[in-house]
Structures are given as C-alpha cells and as structure tokens.
C-alpha cells in the first residue's frame, strides 16, 4: 500500500505529468475553499497592483474602485525617473548577498564546531550563543548603534552588513541538524585518514545541502526585508535599501500612492520570483533542519 503510493509519487516527480487522481467531492470542496482563501490573501496585493496602474489623481478618488478607469504606467515610469529606486535595489542586493554568504559560511562552521568537535569552554560558549537568540537590533538597538558608531561604520556598507552577520538562530538550527548526522559516516572517513576539515567539506556539507538552502533563503529574505537596522544605521538616501528608501524617502515627499505601490511591488517582486522557483526546497529544507519536527 505505502510502497505503491511511494512509487506513484516518484513517477510524478520524474515525469512531471501526474496520472491525475479523479476529482472527489471533498477535493472539490477543499479546492474551492483554497481558491476563496487565496483570493482574500491576494486581494491586498491585487489592489496594490491596480493602484500602481492608476494615475495619482485617480488613486485618491472617492469613492474608491478596484480597476483603473484609465490604465497608465505613469507611476512605474515615475519611480524609475525621479526616485533612487534602482540605487536602492542595488544596495539591497549587495547587502543581502553579502549577509547571506557570510552567515552561511560562519554559521555552518560554528554549527559543526559546536555539534561535533570538542574544545575547552565549548558548553559555556554554546550557552552564550543561546543568549544571543534573545538579542536583536530591536532589543538592543541603541547600544548596538553606539558600538557601530564607535567603529566608524555608520553610513557605510560595512555598518549595514556586519551587524546582521551574527544570527545565533542560524547557528542553533545548523547545530541541531549536524547533531543528527550519523557519526559512523564521519568515523569511517577518519579511519581512512581524513582530517576534520576534509570530513566537513566532503561529507558533512554535501549532506546538509537542503538545510543550508533553507538557512540561506531565510537569511536572504530576512536581510532583503530588514528595515529596522538599516533605518538606524544610515540616513544617506544613496545607501538606503529598498524597504528603507520606500518607507522613509518616498513618504517624505508627501505620499503618492500609485508610486508607493509600484515601488512596494518592485521591492517584493525578487523574493516572490525566488520563492516560486525554490518553494519545494524551502519546505523540504525546513523539514530537514529539524525545525519542524523539533
């Protein structure tokens, strides 16, 4: 019974086209329900899209209406012409890519170090990292800012990037995951004369690809969407990231709703595209890291 089901799942994955199950009454009800809930969920986004295709005067017309009477891409071209939006987009990209790369490297190493090696003071340090789970720019923003200020990193890329690069949560997730890898795999390699580093790079890392993907994607999302820290650390519109630029600069001109909605959609679009392509890896990645089954 279960093997038959497994085989069916496998063929579906490999061929791409499933031998479709017939519609049952409960499936029809569930699908309709899913469609209705999705419609509610997407309605705000749809409204943002329609607003962005209205003229500024039509956007604030009372009573309001869903579809533009005159479809215009005026707001979209305006954000490219007048705003710094391409600048912010590049800044967001630089910051998020750097943060993700650094976080992935240091937290994979640290997670493995804590899970599988012995050194003096390990447990104390692990306890310290647990403390870090409770500290964020939201909790200790002001002292963190003065620290970064002391280092002379206010209004620099470094100041935006580095403080986001020590997420205890990611170390903890990977630590939990590495603990679950069977020791036998490593021991066989040790007997063959491989050192710690070799084992880490040739055995452990390839095994952890799904977990690393999940950690990487969530780090990227968090960093791309991070508002609070860049808001504190930079006032320079040339250095702002998308969420900041949109929230602070676009609002400060007096809100132009059609432009604001166009800019917002621009900020969200890259991640939505990433998610469309990686959503299966993300879900299996969560299952793999043991986050879900903890």
């Amino acid at each position: 019974m279960s093997t038959a089901a497994q085989i069916r799942v496998k063929t579906r994955k490999t061929t791409g086209k499933a031998p479709r199950k017939p519609w049952t009454a409960s499936q029809i009800v569930l699908t309709l329900l899913g469609a209705a809930v999705s419609a509610v969920f997407l309605a705000p986004l749809a409204w943002a899209l329609f607003t962005s295709l209205k003229s500024e005067t039509e956007a604030v017309e009372v009573p309001t209406h869903w579809l533009p009477k005159d479809w215009t891409t005026q707001a979209w071209s305006a954000i490219f012409e007048t705003g710094n939006i391409t600048n912010w987009f590049v800044n967001s990209l630089v910051v998020s890519v750097c943060v993700t790369a650094v976080v992935l490297s240091v937290s994979a190493l640290a997670g493995y170090g804590f899970a599988r090696t012995e050194f003096r003071g390990k447990n104390a340090l692990l306890g310290l990292v647990m403390t870090g789970l409770m500290v964020s720019p939201a909790v200790l923003g002001v002292p963190l800012f003065t620290t970064v200020q002391q280092m002379g990193m206010v209004d620099t890329y470094w100041g935006m990037i580095l403080p986001q690069c020590a997420p205890a949560a990611m170390v903890y997730i990977l630590y939990k995951f590495f603990q679950g890898i069977p020791r036998e795999l490593e021991e066989a390699a040790f007997i063959d004369g491989a050192g710690r580093w070799r084992v880490f790079f040739t055995i452990v890392l390839p095994l952890s690809r799904p977990s690393l993907a999940a950690v990487g994607i969530f780090t990227f999302i968090a960093s791309w969407n991070n508002f609070l820290w860049p808001y504190m650390v930079t006032n320079n519109p040339d250095l702002m990231t998308m969420p900041n630029g949109i929230a602070t600069v676009m609002n400060s001109y007096g809100i132009q709703w059609a432009q604001l909605m166009a800019g917002g959609l621009m900020a969200g679009l890259p991640l939505i595209i990433v998610f469309v392509f990686f959503q299966r890896q993300i879900v299996t990645g969560i299952a793999h890291t043991g986050l879900a089954g903890q």
């Binding site: 279960s2 997407l42 090696t117 200790l140 002001v142 002292p143 620290t147 710690r196 986050l291 879900a292």
Partner: protein, 313 residues
Amino acid sequence: MTATSAQTVIAPTRARTAAAGATVRRRQGFQHGAWFVAPFLVLFALFVIWPLLRGLYLSFTDANISGDATSFIGLDNYREALDDPLVWESLGHSAYFTLLVVPCITVLAFLLAMLAHHIERVTWLWRLCFFAPFLLPSTVAANLWQWLFNPGTGMINHVFGIETAWLTDKSYAMLAVVVCTLWWTVGFSFLLYLAALQGIPAHLYEAAKLDGANAWHRMVHITLPMLRNITGLVVALQILASLQVFDQAVVMMDFLPGPEGSTRTFVQYTLEEGFTSYRVGYASAISIIFFVIIAAVALARMWLLRNREEGGR
C-alpha cells in the same frame, strides 16, 4: 606536562596510556573546534555581546548620542524608568499586540497548512498564495495596509460599507496594525506547520483508517499530538517576534506614535529616547529592562518545555 610524563614513566599501565591518548585527542579537538567556531564568535562578540555589555554600562551613565561627556549616575536611569508612565504604556502596547497576534497567527497558520496539505492539485500555488505576503518587506506591507485602512480612499471601509477611522481612532489603531501583521507574517508559521504535516508518517493514518477512525479522530489523535512540538516552536517564535514589533506600527502611523500614542511600542519608545531625545544612557537602561523581559519569556519557555518532556517520559 611534566607531571603526566613522570606518572607515565613511574606507572606505565594500559589505563594511563589510554587516558594520555584521550588528552592528546582532546587537545587536537581543541584546536580544530576552536577554529570552526572562531569566525562566528568574532562577529558575535563584536555585534551581540559587546553591545550587550556596552548597553549595560551605558545604562548606568547619562550618555548622549555622541557618547561623550558622560558621568556615572548609578541606578538613576532604572529608577526613572520604573516611574516613567511611557515605559509601562509602551510595554503594555507591545504586550497587547502580542496577546492578540500570537493566538490568531497560530490558529490561522494551522488551518491554512491543513488546507494546503490536503488539496492535491497545484500544490505550489497554495503555498505561494499564503506565503507571498511574508515575502514583502514589512514597510511595504505596512504602507499597503495604511492605504487599505485609509478612511476615505481605502478599500477596507469600501468593501465592508463602514466608515471607521482606523488609523486615527485610538481604539482601532492597534487593531489595524494587528490585521496587517496577521496577513503579513502568517505565511512563515504556515510553512513550519506545512513541513511538520508532511513529516507525519503516512502509515499512522493508514493504520488508523484500518481501525475505523474517522477524519475527526485522526485529527485529534494523530495530527494534533504530532504537531505539539511545532506548535510550541511557532508560539515561542511568535511571542519573541511580537514583543519586538516596530516596523508595521511606525510605518502605518507615518513614523508617529499613533493616535494618542496608542501604537507606541516598546522598541519605538527606546528608539525615541535614543535617537530623538538623544538620551543614550536612558535608552540603554530601558533596552536592558526589555532584554531581561525577553530573556525571562525565553527561559520560561525552555523551562516549560523541559518539564513537559520529563513528564512525557
């Protein structure tokens, strides 16, 4: 070193050599292990531990934003904070927000995950729909809902045929922030639930079906118990995130504390004191108070979890 070799010379028993071997291995481990964690620890020390210690130090001073001309004033900041009505008020707003958001998100995420898990067609589409809001920056979500809640030109009042002044009436302002947050963040917990649902072994359901359990029984006796851990995680993550709410509230209220200060959250108050009033020492003191509260919540959770695990065994 000398002691060990002397002992080994005097009594070279097998046990002692084994012990010496273990020491050597541990020493090697020390080097390697330390190198693995070192890069993270450097960043962690600079941007987490040092600010924490620095904040603790500053909280006993009257530091301003540039950090100069400070003098040590002992516990004065803390004394002032305990008497400051805005500390309690903003803490209350964060707590109120948390109390509203956490149960709603947990239930909503669970229901959405059940729905997405059980629909067999176009699975990617449901995932995308429910997760998509989370992919927007918080500021964009906040602007969008600010626009939706706008009394005259917004869609909410239009669709429901009401005339509520969502963003300017102090009894509705925080509710508006809550609604925005639910829509924006439920996707994350939804994905955690979805992954957990997929991790429940199918044979449990098959066995239950053979025993004649109906859908309700399977839900109560298999699904819910198997999801207990993930529910604990979702609740804990949501409590910690909700207590730290900032982005949505400030952006929806145009960077002001909302009608009669009704959406001023604790983080917002800290930043106001630090960056608007330039009272870094005082802001550090209330940050430390906030850190202690967060730590207490996290420790309480760990303690509850441990007790339950022991009880379970």
